[in-house]
């Protein structure tokens, strides 16, 4: 239950390797540990890039240039580096990275609204009850990872850059597995994780003095309760002191350590880009699961004027996502970092009367990269209008079964919900064999 603070040898090497930068030595050290027989799954991390609101797959990854005009939209397609596969003209950088991606073009579920869509996208479960009255009803992906695998390298098992994206909490797993949220604005020069270090008015000497006093005055017996809360409080406090005083952890969250060129590469003014940079720093130092809200100038939810919104968003998306993937690759992190890219659903292939596109969970695109996923795969095909899966439909549960499988988590394991019902981590999903 209580995450372990043990710094594994591998975690130490990962953390220690940082100071050498992303160069050859880092990679040498990594491959050495891999060779040392530790399982690949144990080493993996996940970054979720959530395009909340729903990006338009038909304007980005599943283009239909031959479809009638009321479907195909305004954008032209360009060649990608996979022969015969074309993507949106606004994604020149990602177009040249398709050989690293597994592009799932036929992901589906049946949640038509944002709330229900985010619920299934963040938990793998359709809400049983009205979410407006009943809230989150299953634990989020990250909470499961935190519960199953715990902390690593002195970092919480589930970190949300800024705030959790929505339905990202622990539900019946207990608030110990809520995400650790950074708060703050990563684009700001004064970005700081909330409460990670002593308040400004308290200098290090004073903080140390306080800590020593707490040791002396905090004497309530650990066995005075029945729930284990007292002991858990002590454990979390130990971890909190570790976080507060560990230079490695402080450094992991410290974006100012990145040089100007790197920060620029992720889009210095892009909240999504700088959040991704922070996510990279974290997984580089052993964080297991990090979520990033991937928003740009306009909401992805383009019921009106879809093309203006996407014309404004896609270049930022192309720039930042490609920067992250490239950076992960260069640093040798991509092979054990699974990046999941997508929204809670896609958008209607047919353009509506307001030049917009509406919600479309029936067939949309999610991209998996790295972390043991095969590279350069385009899986599933939609029908000529892009409305329904024509070949290889992939349920959203399949996507998450794949993720858990890669992390070495038995996705058929059950947890009891509030009604004592055993609920499997993933219901009705199987890992996608074609990309493993």
């Amino acid at each position: 239950m209580i995450p372990s603070l043990q710094l594994t040898r591998r975690g130490f090497l990962q953390a220690g390797a940082v100071s050498f930068g992303g160069g050859v030595l880092t990679n040498l050290l990594r491959s050495e540990t891999e060779a040392a027989g530790s399982s690949a799954a144990e080493k993996r991390s996940v970054i979720v890039l959530m395009q909340k609101g729903g990006p338009s797959q038909i304007d980005m990854w599943d283009m239909k240039p031959d479809a009638p005009v009321e479907y195909r939209g305004e954008f032209s397609s360009i060649d990608s580096n996979i022969p015969g596969y074309r993507v949106c003209e606004l994604m020149p950088k990602l177009a040249q990275m398709c050989d690293k991606l597994a592009i799932l073009r036929t992901v589906y579920h049946s949640m038509m609204d944002h709330g229900e869509g985010m619920h299934i996208a963040m938990t793998g479960y359709a809400p049983i009850r009205n979410i407006k009255s009943s809230g989150q009803q299953a634990p989020s992906l990250g909470s499961i990872v935190s519960k199953e695998l715990g902390w690593r390298a002195g970092l919480p098992g589930y970190i949300a850059v800024q705030k959790e994206i929505g339905f990202g909490k622990s539900a019946y797993l207990g608030i110990a597995h809520d995400p650790f949220e950074t708060f703050g604005y990563p684009t700001s020069d004064s970005f700081r994780v909330r409460n990670l270090r002593s308040s400004d008015g308290v200098n290090p000497a004073r903080a140390e003095n306080r800590r020593a006093m707490l040791e002396r005055f905090d004497t309530l017996r650990r066995d005075a309760d029945t729930s284990g809360a007292i002991g858990a409080m002590d454990t979390f406090r130990r971890q909190a002191f570790e976080l507060a005083t560990s230079p490695q952890v402080q450094e992991a969250f410290d974006l100012s350590q990145e040089n100007a060129a790197t920060r620029e590469r992720y889009g210095r003014k892009s909240n999504a880009g700088q959040s991704m940079l922070l996510a990279r720093r974290l997984v580089e130092r052993g964080a297991r699961f990090v979520t990033v809200a991937t928003d740009y100038e306009k909401p992805w939810d383009s019921h009106e004027d879809n093309f203006t919104a996407h014309r404004r968003n896609i270049p930022g998306y192309d720039h930042t996502v490609s920067a992250l993937l490239d950076d992960l690759e260069t640093r040798g992190l991509l092979n054990h970092t699974l990046v999941i890219i997508g929204g809670e659903f896609g958008r209607t292939p047919r353009i509506n009367a307001k030049a917009g596109r509406d919600h479309w969970p029936t067939c949309y695109t999610t991209i998996l990269v790295g972390g043991g996923v095969k590279r350069g795969i385009i899986l599933g095909a939609s029908d000529p209008l892009g409305e329904l899966p024509k070949e290889r439909p992939i349920s959203i549960q399949d996507v998450y079964a794949t993720m858990y499988h890669l992390l070495g988590i038995d996705y058929t394991k059950n947890y009891l919900n509030e009604a004592n019902r055993p609920v499997p981590i993933v219901n009705y999903g199987e890992p996608i064999e074609e990309i493993l």
Binding site: I175, D178, F180, M233, P422
Partner: protein, 742 residues
Amino acid sequence: MRDSKNSSVVRLLGMLLLVGGFVAETSADEAVSVATSAVDPAKVTLSFTNDIVPVLSKLGCNSGNCHGKAIGQNGFKLSLFGFDPDFDYAALVHEGLGRRVSPAAPDDSLMLLKATGTMPHGGGVRLTPDSESYRLLRRWIEQGMPSGRDDEPHDVKLEVTPAERIVQGQSQQQLRVVVHYSDGSTRDVTQVARFDSQHPDILTVTPDGLVQTTGRAGETSVMVRYQNCVATSRFVSLVEQAKPESAYAAFKPKNFVDELVLAKWRKLHIVPSAEAGDAEFLRRVFLDAMGTLPTPQEVRDFVADGAPDKRDTLIDRVLQREEQFDLWAHRVGDLLRNRVGDSNGKDNTIAFAKWIRQSLVENKPYDQFVREIITVTGKRGDHPQMDWYRWAITNENRVEDTAQAFLGLRVSCANCHNHPFEKVSQTDYWQFAAFFARLKSVTYGNVDELSLNEKGEIKHPRTEQLLTPKVFGGPQFAYVAGEDPRLKLAEWLTAADNPYFARAICNRMWGHYLGVGLVDPVDDMRATNPPSNPELLDALARDFVAHKFDLKHLMKTILKSRIYGLSSTPTDDNRADTRNYARYYSRRLQPHVLLDAISSATGVPQKFEDYPEVKKAILLPNEKARSDFLEIFGRSERTTPCECETSLAPNLSQVLYLLNSDELQRKLSSKDGVLDELAKPDKLTAEVVEDLFLRTFSRRPRSDELQDAITQIESEKSPNRRTALEDLLWTLLNSKEFLFNH
């Protein structure tokens, strides 16, 4: 205690009973009479519902991870735990191209070939051809798959013996299970019942019902299920020897609560901790009853008071204070989920919160309070409690909220299938919903008016049959033109003999003051989750009803008991106790209470930007106010009536907040707080330290603590005296003695 030879006798007899349904006098500890029908078992026509389905359940075929899944398994679906025999009959006999059963050549039936692993089976080998279950299934197929008669008896009650046992150390016990049918007949179903240990670390149970205790001390039960019935067999596993009567001499019962708890301790060989000290008791009562810390002066006065009955006097006084109503209004607001959500109903929640508080101030009888909520009609302006229906939009919400909030029952399972751990069927669930069927539908948002339709029915979601209103385990009602069916529901709900209503609120109140419900969790009362002290829960409920549902009387009964005033420090004779109140169980302060405690200890009130008129967290009318603190410390989102929505579990963010947050540091360094006064140079350091201890731990410092603190503060020269005091107060606020009620 049964030896292994005897238990095998029972097993053998069980098999015979299963096959023939005839009698046998077994050697069980407490003999159970079994119906007699001395006919040749092979000639008895089997019943699908009463003979075959239980075997499918026992073998696990219809469990939630096999064919009982909502979409079945590999094209073969059964109803979950066999709750729908007609469906299962069709699935076995008519579907699968008829290959699942083959009366011409029973052994070639797919269901037997698969279950024995003769043909590949994802679920593995479930039975062997030489087993009784195999012979039974085979015989049913051979008989041409009789479906059973429409008028055949159904199961009404399960009886397990022994119902309760106290064992010492590692030992064994064979259980016997008898089902009672609607025609009065009984049958031994030990072999086909399903057994689950609630705490495998205390005892394990074999599929045949042989219990083995591990030698670990504790109380637990075995859950027994058969068809739609459930029962438990309760086990108390002792490691300690019986205690001499002198061990209990110091404990002088004050009321029936104490008597019944003491009886349990004797039985379990537990000895209570000593009485808590005065300061500890005062702090506890203030926090539990009012969500407030005592002032330093209140601590001093109480400790100095020499009256022998000062604790009872304190409780009488506390229960009249405004803060008492504030605390309970908030807790009841959680229970009734007085919530804004994403609606624009903020003003409605404020009015509802006021109505709740006013009801408490008037000490409105609890039955009346609940009736006024359930049966409300008219305009919201006249009836602020109508807001309860704002989140009880659907009939499902209404059934589940009513059941969980007022009856302590979690019935959501029965929405889709019979409750696997309680005798609440899907039909019961939807018949309960029928009480609400004539309410004019309300849409999401604000409910401004509630009225009735002349017509309106509920259909059973599976059979599509029109349902009449019926309470759990009670009579059916016909719809009467012009009459609100909810009146009948409320009448049953609040009747003196309702088996759930009074017990549910007594248990909830007990859980609030004692930390652990007699039934735990407090809103999960069911046959398979029995109370730790059933006599006590019954007695509390009886007393509560006898006193006309008087909540304040109930509070006094609990708070004035001797056990409420026990120390939280465990002894060697009660360290393992977690359910019998041999000491006070410490727990973290509730989120709103903790925030207010920090504000009062620092003397700096909390500000809520979006609720500027609210000066204390406990006075917030709903879940909505923006507050990092309340979010981090697990406030209820009020999305369900579940007690579990308010979390007292710690996590990393909480600890980081207390250690490092600017918000807390601002309170410490504020110019308006208590430290400004205490830091003045004319104050004696010893007095200042005492004051800070009284404000936080509600006690005077021990001499070593005092000395340590004085040294710490006086080693710093002015102006650093102020920061030294800040550091001391920070330390106290971060200490578990502050964060926990103990």
